[in-house]
């Protein structure tokens, strides 16, 4: 009797969960399908769901006409560059706060968190003018720099919460054995910190890849990453749905895969450790 009830419950919740999951995922699926249609079919009413003439020509066209790879490369450079630099600055800082905390550490951490609360639009004007006078508008360097600073608080916070979990006894044992700080860092701390470092890097890559305030405002063509590139499809003169879908699919595919691997870290990173 109990088992029957359980089986029925599993069946019901399974059907419901798949139904809702499918509904939420549907816009993405629909976009991927549209990317394999011809422009005519993408626009057609009634729409065809699977039985259309599958084609990959949109992907070729997107690359030919708009130099897709140039913008993809910009995204890689900007997201990757800002992540690497942010990590280089954040690792020493988080290490220091996690292992040599002072009574001001908590205040410093909270202050760093508060810099993330500043709405970017509040400093749009000065940043734009500074960039203009230094010739940084529409430059990769400028975007790397601003995304790095924008995400630095999250990176430090995530690393801090991971470093905190490394048992301190191990460090003390190493110190007793006469390990210098340099050795302690290389041989003891680094191997234990690698999982935390990897997840921090992953989350920051995702955030930087999808960042769409600074990239839209500070880049136009040469340095434009995929966010800005896709936005150029919003102009009303050409409604190329199939091509828009192809470009979009390419733009989100890598990050979707990375994102799926980092769900747990996402919760931790974006709630500043408040929910684990």
């Amino acid at each position: 009797m109990a088992r029957m009830a359980t089986t029925r419950r599993v069946a019901i919740s399974t059907v419901a969960a798949w139904l809702f999951g499918f509904l939420i995922f549907f816009p993405i699926l629909w976009m991927v399908l549209a990317s394999f249609k011809t422009e005519l079919e993408a626009f057609a009413i009634p729409p065809s769901f699977l039985f259309f003439h599958w084609t990959t020509e949109n992907y070729a066209t997107v690359q030919e006409r708009s130099d897709y790879f140039h913008h993809a490369l910009n995204s890689i450079i900007i997201a990757g560059g800002s992540t690497v630099i942010a990590l280089l600055i954040a690792i020493p800082a988080a290490w220091s706060m996690a292992f040599s905390p002072t009574k001001r550490t908590k205040d410093i951490l909270l202050w760093m968190l508060s810099t993330k609360m500043m709405p970017p639009v509040g400093v749009l004007v000065p940043i734009y003018l500074i960039y203009k006078s230094f010739g940084l508008l529409d430059s990769r360097t400028g975007l790397v720099f601003i995304l790095c600073l924008g995400n630095l608080p999250i990176v430090i916070w995530m690393l801090f919460t991971y470093f905190k979990e490394i048992p301190r006894d191990i460090l003390e044992a190493a110190r007793m054995d006469g390990a210098t700080i340099g050795r302690e860092l290389v041989y003891v701390l680094t191997p234990m910190a690698i999982p935390g470092l990897a997840s921090t890097m992953l989350l920051n890559l995702i955030l930087a890849w999808n960042e769409a305030f600074w990239t839209l405002n500070l880049s136009t063509s040469y340095a434009a990453p995929l966010t800005t590139f896709i936005a150029s499809y919003s102009s009303p003169e050409g409604l190329f749905w199939a091509k828009l879908s192809a470009a979009s699919t390419l733009a989100i595919a890598p990050i979707l895969v990375l994102g799926w691997f980092s769900q747990k870290q996402l919760v931790r990173g974006l709630t500043f450790g408040a929910v684990k």
Binding site: A17, F25, P27, P119, V121, P126, I230, A274
Partner: protein, 290 residues
């Protein structure tokens, strides 16, 4: 244990990060404050005049400000309501024994990883287009008149797009919290004959209070500055119907080139965000003690 030497080292390791963040916070903010006291047009450089609080008076009494403040509040409030009211049942559902749960979770979380410009354009064209969109086709299928989303209910259309992006975030956080809920407590309640509803009200919901607060605060911080979705779909229109504060400031700065009043508006946005941040920092800070 820590020697003087390690303390000095620790401090010097911390300095670059603190210094950079300090500069990043202070310099632009100071410039924003400075610009906000000037009459300063990018079209007419070199003619800056000190005007005191004139820009604030102009910005705050501009009908566009009140409209955009209203739109901002409606946008933030509606997206919060939608993501939490849908996120709770969805998280509860995913917490059940579900066959293929990991796969379902991948589908649910996916929208969060889609860049804002992509989700906005896909929704606007493929789904919400009044003639060839999927929603229009579905409406005619049921004998209804298709809605012209971005003309008839533009703000609601933007709300739907943004809510779709943030529903995964709310669901994932609530699910994470549910999974840390003590199963024994729930089982004990069931043994004692508590109904599913009262178990939810007296055990699950109180447990979710904190994660819900966290979701509200973090989403609010991001939702106050929604920009790309509006930029690529409506451009703030029709009229001012989808202009939020972030978009209004952008328009004043980079379309009308009015640096002075855009800076004043920027400071207003900073003040609003700070009110929310104050509460978030307190909650996170309390967590840090534990």
């Amino acid at each position: 244990m820590a020697t003087r030497q390690t303390q000095v080292l620790a401090r010097s390791l911390l300095t670059p990060a603190v210094g950079l963040l300090f500069i990043w916070m202070i310099v632009p903010l100071a410039l924003t404050i400075y610009f906000s006291t000037l009459r300063y047009s990018l079209l007419d450089p070199g003619s800056e005049v000190f005007v005191g609080l004139e820009n604030f008076r102009y910005f705050l009494t501009d009908p566009a400000f009140l409209a955009s403040l209203r739109n901002t509040l409606v946008l933030v409030g509606s997206v919060l309501a939608l993501t939490i009211l849908l996120g709770i049942p969805l998280a509860l559902l995913l917490d059940q024994p579900v066959i293929g749960r990991n796969f379902v979770r991948l589908m649910v979380i996916a929208p969060f990883f889609v860049m804002p410009t992509v989700s906005a354009l896909v929704w606007k064209n493929l789904l919400m287009h009044p003639v060839s969109g999927l929603f229009a086709w579905l409406a005619t299928l049921f004998g209804l008149t298709p809605i012209d989303w971005f003309n008839d209910v533009p703000l609601f259309a933007v709300i739907l797009i943004v809510a779709w992006q943030w529903l995964p975030f709310a669901t994932l956080i609530l699910l994470t919290a549910l999974q840390s809920l003590d199963e024994e407590q729930k089982e004990a309640a069931e043994m004692d004959g508590a109904s599913a509803v009262s178990t939810f009200i007296y055990i699950t919901l109180p447990h979710l209070a904190r994660p819900i607060t966290v979701v509200i605060l973090i989403e609010t911080i991001f939702l106050l500055t929604v920009f790309a979705e509006i930029f690529v779909t409506t451009g703030g229109g029709p009229g001012l119907q989808t202009t939020n504060i972030a978009f209004l400031i952008y328009a004043q700065a980079l379309i009308q080139f009015d640096v002075g009043s855009a800076s004043a508006g920027g400071l207003v946005a900073v003040v609003i965000a700070n009110i929310v941040a104050f509460f978030l920092v307190r909650i996170v800070g309390r967590n840090l003690e534990a």
